[in-house]
């Protein structure tokens, strides 16, 4: 008889332990100890102890999920997974990504450390920020083939009927000047949107897993 009831009680306490998984170890242990003592006191009063009586004690204690729900309610634990902590690592990564060179380097490292983005997201963030480097190289190359970036108009022959010519050069200019600003910011915004989705999805999971109705 004892082994059967012990197994019954063991399962009950295991269930309760699992339901209290979100709690700090000390608080969880406190509740488990006291419920354990309750059961021990009830058993001590039984003469003789029967499995049916032990079942009744556990039934009166109630569903472990209800006890955990009450504990979350009393200690405000439920609020935490519902309102997730700010993912600081990711936020710092997003800011760093739009700062040229060193910032980008730091940002890329943080982006790859993070577990909230997919590999595709990480590549987009990396390449988006890299446009600084590309633009830098591009500028050097343009300089090298002797197209002065600032004075492209003055090279046009005076008699040329096509005054549109300079805009060809300045289009490259515009792209070279704008891209390093726009691309990292665009990549960063994209990552921020993905991050919000991830954080919401994660807190949703935890919340759904723990949002059974509280009953006293």
């Amino acid at each position: 008889m004892t082994t059967a009831t012990d197994a019954l009680i063991g399962r009950y306490l295991d269930d309760l332990n699992a339901e209290l998984a979100l709690f700090p170890a000390q608080q969880r242990q406190e509740i488990l100890d006291e419920i354990g003592e309750h059961i021990a006191a009830a058993r001590a009063a039984m003469d003789p102890e029967t499995e049916a009586d032990v079942r009744t004690v556990l039934e009166r204690l109630g569903d472990p999920a209800d006890i955990a729900a009450e504990a979350r309610d009393r200690f405000g634990i439920q609020a935490e997974p519902a309102r997730p902590a700010t993912p600081w690592l990711e936020v710092i990564a997003l800011v760093a990504l739009v700062i040229p060179f060193l910032g980008w380097l730091v940002g890329v490292v943080l982006v790859w450390i993070s577990r909230l983005w997919t590999t595709r997201d990480k590549l987009i963030g990396t390449l988006g920020g890299m446009s600084w480097v590309v633009a830098g190289l591009g500028t050097i190359m343009v300089e090298a083939v002797n197209i002065p970036l600032s004075a492209s108009g003055s090279d046009t022959p005076v008699g040329s009927p096509h005054v549109v010519e300079p805009t060809g050069a300045s289009a490259i200019e515009v792209i070279l000047v704008a891209a390093p600003f726009v691309l990292p910011i665009a990549a960063s915004i994209y990552l921020a949107i993905r991050l919000r989705g991830q954080v919401a999805a994660r807190s949703g999971e935890v919340h759904a897993g723990s949002s059974r109705g509280s009953r006293v």
């Binding site: 309760l16 204690l61 109630g62 006890i67 009953r215």
Partner: protein
Amino acid sequence: MVSAKRDSLITQMRRGTLEYCVLALLRDQARYGFDLVRTLGDADGLITSEGTIYPLLSRLRRDGLVTTAWHESPSGPPRRYYELTSAGDQALELFTAEWDRFTNAVDRVLKQGEAR
């Protein structure tokens, strides 16, 4: 549907009052968990799951309204007894006074509504 509404109504009413029922049971004597919980459980309609009292006791202890002490038991292992602290006593006194006022007011209003 009606029973779900009733459950949520009872849950809400219980929320602010149950802890004072616990304090009231400890006013004159320290009690061990099983005794305390059974006494509450025997009061009709107060609790449906006895186990939910333990998180509440944890909370009361954390807030300094009750303390615990181990005492030998005539049968079985030693028991953890819950006692009211002076802060718990004050909290209970405050609640009792306000509760009287509050229930009187609610009763009066409910009866007024009935009369019309």
